[in-house]
């Protein structure tokens, strides 16, 4: 546990040096990495341990982005980010109360449905009330500010994941994932624990959305409520290993680098790589990259050696 904290501190310190060392393109790539580290780590805190597969990440991200767009000119930057987190968490509390009694596919589909509902509601509201669909963000913080904000959110997400794992709250989440009813008969107030865990995940997605909104300068519901953000978060967490601490972090970096380098030139190649990695990881590493141990590798090589010999 102490080793994890030291590793996080070293990684964060390394990342903090980046703006002084690299150019604009690399910095923008690093921001995409940090965004997905925040999204995938916080998703795993709740969904990885309880096995409630939420597809609502893009809803919370989008809510954060809109909260940011609406208040950017009136409020100080840290307050804008906190507000994005708070509004997303509040929506998650309501959404969680409505859908967290469902499990498995039903839960996944409903969270996706609610995401679409929120996106269309925002679109409708913008058309009817403000008379425009998109919003232009005229005055935005500089790249460095956004970078350090994202770094703080990502490091905060990993630190939160670490703290939750060793807490009673984390134990309750793990019990819900193992056997929800059994955990409840042993005294876990499951409804509360699930709703709070869901809101915690949403808060980080909202904060990330609030920070990223200013990167686009023009936002509309299609961009910030893009379901692909939610899907990619789930894929990253699953491929990395949603039950592990560092799996989602490693996978988030890997994917963001892949996405940014391939997507512009070869969008199909990126999607194919994503699909292929998911298939391989489900087949050979069902618990994700983070579950990879020396024994696993030895097992693979032993099997191969056995065939050769």
């Amino acid at each position: 546990m102490k080793r994890d904290a030291i590793l996080l501190a070293l990684l964060a310190a390394g990342a903090a040096l980046l703006p002084a060392l690299v150019g604009e393109f690399a910095l923008s790539l690093a921001m995409a990495c940090l965004m997905y580290v925040a999204l995938a780590s916080s998703w795993s805190v709740f969904c990885g341990s309880t096995r409630y597969l939420s597809l609502a990440t893009s809803a919370f991200f989008g809510i954060g982005a809109y909260a940011s767009a609406l208040t950017l000119e009136q409020l100080p930057w840290p307050v804008v980010i906190a507000l994005g987190a708070a509004v997303a968490a509040a929506v998650a509390l309501v959404m969680g109360a409505a859908v967290l009694h469902l499990r498995g596919t039903y839960f996944a589909v409903l969270t996706f449905g609610m995401t679409e509902l929120i996106r269309h509601a925002v679109t409708y509201f913008e058309k009817q009330v403000t008379g425009t669909v998109g919003r232009v963000l005229a005055v935005v913080p500089d790249d460095r500010t956004v970078y350090f904000t994202l770094l703080a959110i990502a490091a905060g997400a990993v630190a939160t994941a670490m703290a939750v794992r060793r807490s009673r709250f984390g134990l309750a989440l793990a019990g819900i994932g193992a056997d929800e009813q059994r955990a409840q008969t042993l005294g876990v107030p499951t409804r509360w624990v699930k709703t709070l865990g869901f809101a915690l995940t949403a808060a980080f997605a909202g904060a990330a959305g609030a920070a990223m909104a200013v990167r686009w300068t023009y936002i509309d519901p299609v961009t910030v409520f893009n379901p692909f953000i939610g899907f990619q978060t789930v894929l990253i967490a699953l491929i990395g290993g949603a039950a592990t601490l560092w799996g989602p972090v490693a996978a988030a970096v890997m994917f963001s680098v892949l996405a940014e380098t391939l997507r512009l030139q070869l969008p199909q190649a990126y999607m194919m790589a994503l699909g292929l990695l998911l298939i391989l990881s489900v087949m050979y590493l069902p618990d994700g990259l983070g579950s990879l141990r020396r024994e696993t590798l030895r097992g693979w090589f032993a099997a191969r050696g056995g065939r050769d010999g």
């Binding site: 009673r168 193992a178 056997d179 059994r182 409840q184 008969t185 876990v188 409804r191």
Partner: protein, 246 residues
Amino acid sequence: MAERLLDAREVTVRFGGLTAVDAVSATFDTGELVGIIGPNGAGKTTFFNAISGVIAPTAGALRMDGRDLAGQGPHRFAAQGVARTFQTPRVFAAMRVRDNVDFGLQFAGRHRAAAAPALADAGTILALIGLERHAALPAAAITPAQQRLLEIGMALATRPRLLLLDEVAAGLTEAEVEAMARLIGRLRGELGLAVVWIEHAVATLLRHVERVLVLHQGRKIADAAPAEVVRNPEVIDAYLGDEVLA
């Protein structure tokens, strides 16, 4: 003087058109060892589900300390000191044996004082159920008979007043059944728990309990000492053709 723990009044559970438990009333006091028997489908487990909060009764009251808990979740029952095991052991397979026991201590057991030194911590509970040597193994790695013991240990970790055991002796060998009966006797005697024990093997159960409830088609048809129950014509009728009571 025995204390009234649970007063179940006219508890009814309906699933659609089927009445699984039909207006069953029963009381359980501290230090009692009560058996529940009945043919297959008599509603034994459904009655347990109702009095442990796992399913909400369609009608009826479940009074504990003067409050009606009917309709509340299992965690509320656990907080009031009702603990249970499940027919098929539901241990946390990936967690270590010790952590399985510790789980209850972290939640319902945390807010309840240990009634006896044996419930002080995970170590003493493991010693009580005889699994201390397996403490570090994953729960998936121990035998089914040991998992049944672990289920009891998990329930004890909530520091209950009323312990509901659902077929904990099913599938055990003769010697294991006797050991289980001795353990249950100790839980009642040393810890002062009220124990309610469902068992399909009627003969075994009747040897060990001092009071037995007989359920038949969801209704309670007898509630008396074993010697009296086996002479009850309605009970004999319900079990007609079943040689266990003969």
